[in-house]
Symmetry: C2
Subunit: 420 residues, 2 copies
């Protein structure tokens, strides 16, 4: 429910502006397909494309900055606009626990709550439930003596305790979709079980069966209500199967056949173990629908990781690493021998008047020296964390702009070589 | 020493720009007095004026944001430009300890180091030495068993230990001025002893004698070298005398008679105890030179405090409170019954779609609701601290713009009443 606030209130201006944009967007984009391919590389699976939502278009391949709690850490949405970000992520697990989907729905959804009128994507909450969980075991019960974060999985869903206050919560495919409807992201995700890499075959099989059942239930829950806030929400399915080739193939085939708007590849190792990620992407690629966007969940630890995913036909990725690394002083700078990274805290930068990266056009590189940034980190100034976050995000967003250009110009392979 | 950096380096661009500005500034401002009064209030001592430096002009009364370690906490210099700040402070004590004045001088001074081409002011280091010191006692020795932060005062200067690593340092009038020359702020301060409020008369007398001797020594040290980096640096003297009326009067008379470019009022209580501050300002006012700017060091905890200082003929103030309060969620909003302050962490703001202050034109109020800010603080997001800092600084800078207008229009008293 949106209550018209009094004159001068932020809400009023923001509603008017958002509604105008949404209306204009809907008019302009009417009849546009959700996804279309604009160029394909002949030597690899790399491609460029365009995703069209009621909040605007997204050029792919796209790196999506993560605003876990409705904020990309240290930055605000004006920063994101200046960086040229076309889509941001929010995390359903975190937003459900705080401030809660009902409060956000009262604002008219996440776009208005955080004042971001471009596309948003929310995950299903599954990844955080499992990765923040202390124990992941099917059939377990939340005992009275359980210390926070215990996770109990059953065939209908997952019961877990909040990392904030230890309170008990439960996600099912239906509740995850309901929460994501209220949050109102343009792209939402099916509820899945993120299986650990180490999962033995019997467990991995059972988990995959649950993920597939939940995929169908998520679809059913979404189909009846695809426009909770008035604009279209698109639902993606998620391929699981841990590190078992046949399970990954079975999952890719199953998820690709369902009427999802896009297909994601999930799992504990995706993005964190690029050798395993590349292998899994190889396995699933033949089953991925060409006409739908492909999303590798969690890829983006290093610039080269993005290019590896692109090479495997991936259109979308997200990762918290670029901003987390930034807050620890690890800054991207093109240098294959050093993983395109430097540690600004190193004493060698104390008197260095160069920018972080000589070719970078970001606000930080245009205005501040390594020496000044070294000082801000040495002195524990939060402004250093912000300037570093701006740089790392710009670096990946610019890499994606260059990647799209390289694909369009038919020279993706050569382009990728520069980063190897 | 400035070493010309290679092509594409930040240093080169920044040098060129800064030098161009300095040259243009020097041309335009040639022959302008350092300070001129532009309007005076008839009912109070309030006045407007203009300070002219080689890095630009400052309209007074002016609130000066504090960038202790060459950064206003959570913000960068682009933020400060957007806020319309005309001058920033740096702290000599902190910058001496880290990164050191020699490193900053290698950059060509603080302006270039932090990329801020408008005026800067540094304090003398005295306040921090004393306020961060564990013990303040004349004649004390730094014993072997001294636990960090011990301060030993003698007639020639102060020996103290670093709050960072416990290393021993010494400030004298000469070394403080030398450090401030290397830092290169447009306005620098004489070295003084910031006497505690509780100082008994014999101690206060002896401390004042030291402050006055150090004022003359600071002047002598400065006179031989007023253009260390090529542009003019202006030196202010500081009135002390604790809470003793005759000592304050004696100090005001003594400092005002010396050829300083401006006169400051210092002391432990200034800004932190506004009743004491107003009384001290009353005592010293008759002795202050009309033709020089008056600077109350540390005033700015609340909007009304600024107006009280202005009423007493003060032209300049600084305070870390606005940004410190902001980082703790205490936000300025015009409301005399609540000290113009609200605590955004209060549960009452969780669903409040209004901006912090309905009349505020700052980035934060134009873009985000109390509800969103409440969420950012509840979730511990650093972006909340930054948005809050932007608001609090804008609020005081706007208050100063409005104050100058009110003085010019001859309605300062009525204007101040609105805030009482």
């Amino acid at each position: 429910m949106w209550v018209t606030p009094p004159k001068n209130a932020i809400g009023r201006l923001s509603v008017a502006k958002n509604e105008l944009f949404a209306m204009l967007g809907a008019l302009l984009l009417f009849g546009m397909p959700f996804f279309e391919t604009t160029a394909t590389d002949t030597a690899t699976h790399a491609r460029t494309g365009r995703i069209t939502t009621d909040h605007g278009t997204i050029e792919t391949p796209v790196f999506m900055p993560v605003g876990t709690q409705a904020s990309v850490k240290t930055l605000d949405q004006a920063d994101m606009r200046q960086l040229g970000a076309e889509i941001m992520l929010g995390n359903t697990y975190h937003l459900h626990l705080r401030p809660g989907e009902d409060l956000i729905a009262e604002h008219g959804g996440l776009h208005r709550f955080m004042n971001w009128d471009k596309p948003l994507l929310t995950d299903s909450g599954g990844f955080q439930v499992f990765s923040l969980g202390k124990e992941t075991r099917a059939g377990a019960e939340l005992g009275a003596g359980a210390q926070g974060r215990l996770v109990a999985i059953d065939e209908q869903g997952v019961t877990f305790t909040s990392h904030i206050d230890g309170s008990t919560h439960r996600f099912t495919p239906e509740s995850s979709i309901d929460i994501q409807h209220k949050l109102g992201a343009d792209i939402i995700m099916a509820f899945d079980e993120c299986t650990p890499d180490a999962a033995e075959r019997p467990y991995a099989e059972a988990a995959l069966a649950r993920t597939h059942a939940w995929a169908e239930q998520s679809l059913a829950a979404h189909m009846g209500n695809t426009r909770y806030h008035g604009y279209q929400q698109f639902l993606f399915g998620i391929i699981q199967g841990a590190q078992h080739r046949d399970l990954r193939e079975r999952s890719a085939e199953f998820i690709s056949a369902l009427p999802f708007d896009g297909v994601a590849i999930g799992g504990e190792s995706i993005g964190y173990n690029m050798a395993a990620t590349a292998e899994i992407l190889d396995w699933v690629y033949p089953y991925l629908p060409e006409t739908k966007p492909h999303y590798a969940m969690g890829v983006g630890l290093s610039p080269l990781d993005l290019l590896i995913a692109v090479e495997h036909g991936v259109d979308m990725f997200d990762c918290v690493a670029p901003t987390r690394l930034a807050r620890h002083g690890m800054l991207y700078s093109k240098n294959p021998s050093k993983q395109h990274r430097l540690n600004i805290k190193n004493a060698s930068f104390a008197r260095d008047t160069q920018p972080i990266d000589a070719a970078c056009a970001c606000h930080t590189c245009q205005n501040y020296s390594r020496s000044y940034l070294h000082h801000l980190f040495a002195a524990g100034e939060l402004s250093g964390q912000r300037l570093a976050s701006l740089h790392n995000l710009h670096f990946l967003l610019q890499l994606m702009r260059d990647t799209r250009q390289a694909i369009g110009a038919g020279r993706f392979k050569e382009f990728k070589k520069e980063w190897e």
